[in-house]
């Protein structure tokens, strides 16, 4: 009895002050978008469907960055470090363990766990050392740049873990895809319709779960730390623990992106942790509006689609467009373009209502 009422009160947190989208209008829209996403494979070529899972793969990292940077106010510029660590871990584990008996799923969990552990160790030094602001940004960025350089020089045969060669600059390939054990034969999640649905389901679960998290007591504290860390501490919160927990959760999501990406393309390279790779999540999250999960998702998808359509047409200008988008966003709409549009729309509507 108590349990069910507690469960209900937790579920109610899916709406709250820390998330912009609320009310029947928003959830109707959410339902329609979700229906559209579910229906999409019926109207498209399964090859395209599998390819487009690519876009979903990155959203986990984007939401994690929104949590750390947008909600928590901590400039973590090296989320790609956790993406890469998890991606490589998945490769090493699956090449050694194989893909029978659902061992790829175990590898997924372990790989995400390794990236979370790495984040916990790094985060302990940073947050318990009370580093903040720009310093946090440049240390985390340094970490990912050094990891890239480390992985780039692992070309020699001595750089192997078990059967898995790290392969240096060229990257590691030929790891098995995620496989779900099933009656009458395992389901291998090649880039195809099945993978699409699994990733979509995971995305919905993570999105709703994060909404509940940011509207919970925990979420209240992390936004309080963003707004005024001293006041938060002087209300009795050990802010270092909250910052660390936020960092670990957000980085684990970057790790999840890394595993999904590696399994999707059966491939990961050191460049996934380099300067360019590190800058892209910043663009996605800043452009949409990092302080809200929904605007982060919309912005990330929009920017990814623009970027991808530019590169597919062979344009070298894609990265220039990304850089310009970032500069313009910071100068013109510092909260993010989607949030600025929502604000504009609300202001106009309230003016109309006021006039009527």
């Amino acid at each position: 009895m108590l349990d069910s009422s507690r469960r209900a009160s937790i579920l109610r947190l899916v709406e709250g002050p820390q998330t912009m989208g609320r009310g029947p209008g928003f959830w109707t829209g959410f339902g329609l978008v979700l229906l559209g996403a579910i229906a999409y494979p019926f109207f498209a070529d399964s090859y395209d469907v599998g390819n487009n899972v690519y876009f979903f793969n990155w959203l986990f990292m984007a939401m994690g960055l929104s949590l750390i940077w947008g909600y928590g106010g901590a400039l973590s510029f090296g989320q790609t470090a956790f993406f890469g660590v998890a991606g490589y871990s998945y490769g090493v584990l699956t090449i050694n363990l194989g893909d029978a008996y659902g061992l790829t799923l175990l590898s997924l969990v372990l790989a995400v766990g390794i990236s979370a552990l790495f984040a916990a160790i790094l985060g302990y030094f940073l947050f318990f050392g009370r580093i903040s602001g720009v310093f946090l940004g440049i240390v985390t960025l340094s970490v990912t740049l050094v990891l890239e350089r480390f992985m780039a020089q692992t070309a020699g045969p001595q750089w192997a873990i078990g059967a898995a060669r790290l392969n240096g600059f060229n990257g590691m390939g030929a790891m098995p895809s995620l496989t779900i054990p099933w009656f009458g034969g395992d389901i291998t999640l090649y880039p195809d319709v099945a993978l699409y649905y699994v990733t979509l389901a995971l995305l919905v679960v993570v999105y709703l779960g994060l909404r509940i998290l940011v509207n919970s007591r925990f979420g209240n504290v992390i936004v309080a730390i963003r707004e005024n860390p001293m006041r938060a501490e002087m209300l009795g919160y050990d802010i270092r623990k909250y910052q660390l927990a936020t960092f670990v959760i957000g980085s684990a999501l970057a790790g999840l992106s890394g595993v999904l990406y590696t399994s999707w393309g059966n491939y990961i390279t050191p460049a996934s942790m380099g300067m360019t790779a590190a800058s892209l999540p910043i663009v996605w999250v800043a452009v949409g509006g990092r302080t809200d999960l929904t605007t982060t998702m919309i912005g990330t998808l929009a920017v990814l689609v623009i970027f991808q359509s530019l590169t597919i047409h062979g344009s070298q200008y894609a990265l220039i467009v990304m850089g310009a988008l970032l500069v313009i966003t910071v100068l013109v709409a510092p909260k993010g373009i989607v949030i600025a549009l929502v604000d504009l729309f609300r202001r106009r509507r309230s003016r109309q209502e006021g006039g009527a």
């Binding site: 309080a224 707004e227 006041r231 209300l235």
Partner: protein, 238 residues
């Protein structure tokens, strides 16, 4: 037994003693004001009590326990609470959320909402509950932060110039509110410049000068003390 006691508390910045061997004791239930010219070390003394700075030597006892090296949040959990000089609020969050964050610690979820409403009434902020705290008037921000500090139900409330920037009416109302809280058992230690306010609330007054305790007594004794007048005049000469 004193609720707060400092023994030979020292803090130097470079060669300068900003707090020099301060022995200070505060009795439970007291309303005590700290005054003194600018640079007397009042703010540093507060920061030492809160743990924002650590002392170079000496001891701080709270409720009999040594908290000299305790972290700021540990001191808060023991029952100290503070209102900063510049309103320390969460500017982009609503008034209601500011109070939620202060209360959610120790108030069960079932009664949280009632408690927030009661506090909003008490602070006369009920109409502005959904306003962004950064958009409140200056006086309202001060009240909101006092509300957040009080929400912890502290035994000892520290206030750093709580009425700075308030109108005389607001100042008086703040004093009355603090007296209510004091009657309910809260000990209050305030740094304050406004003498009318000090006269309204203080049982005892301590004058700090050059990092040392210069004089102590009731407001009438302090006002009558020519040496105290001299250090303030000295400042206005400078």
């Amino acid at each position: 037994m004193a609720i707060l006691e400092t023994r030979q508390l020292n803090k130097r910045f470079g060669g300068l003693h900003v707090t020099g061997n301060v022995d200070f004791a505060l009795q439970p239930g007291e309303m005590h004001c700290l005054i003194g010219p600018n640079g007397a070390g009042k703010s540093t003394f507060f920061k030492l009590i809160l743990g924002e700075h650590l002392s170079d030597s000496g001891q701080i006892l709270y409720d009999g326990a040594d908290i000299t090296r305790a972290k700021p949040f540990e001191r808060i959990r023991r029952g100290i609470s503070v209102k900063f000089q510049v309103p320390g609020i969460f500017r982009e969050l609503s008034t209601r959320q500011n109070l939620t964050i202060a209360l959610q610690h120790h108030v069960s979820p079932q009664v949280l909402s009632e408690e927030i409403d009661r506090l909003l009434e008490f602070l006369k902020l009920a109409d502005d509950r959904d306003k962004q705290a950064g958009n409140l008037s200056h006086g309202q921000k001060q009240w909101l932060e006092i509300g957040m500090a009080v929400a912890l139900k502290p035994q000892l409330l520290l206030l750093d110039e709580p009425t700075a920037g308030m109108t005389p009416d607001e100042t008086y109302a703040t004093g009355a509110m603090l007296q209510d809280l004091n009657r309910a058992g809260m000990t209050v230690l305030a740094v304050e410049h406004d003498m009318a306010f000090v006269r309204q609330i203080a049982h005892q007054v301590t004058v700090l000068h050059l990092g040392k305790i210069f004089a102590q007594g009731t407001i009438d004794e302090i006002v009558a003390d020519e040496r105290v007048a001299a250090i303030y005049l000295g400042e206005s000469d400078a």
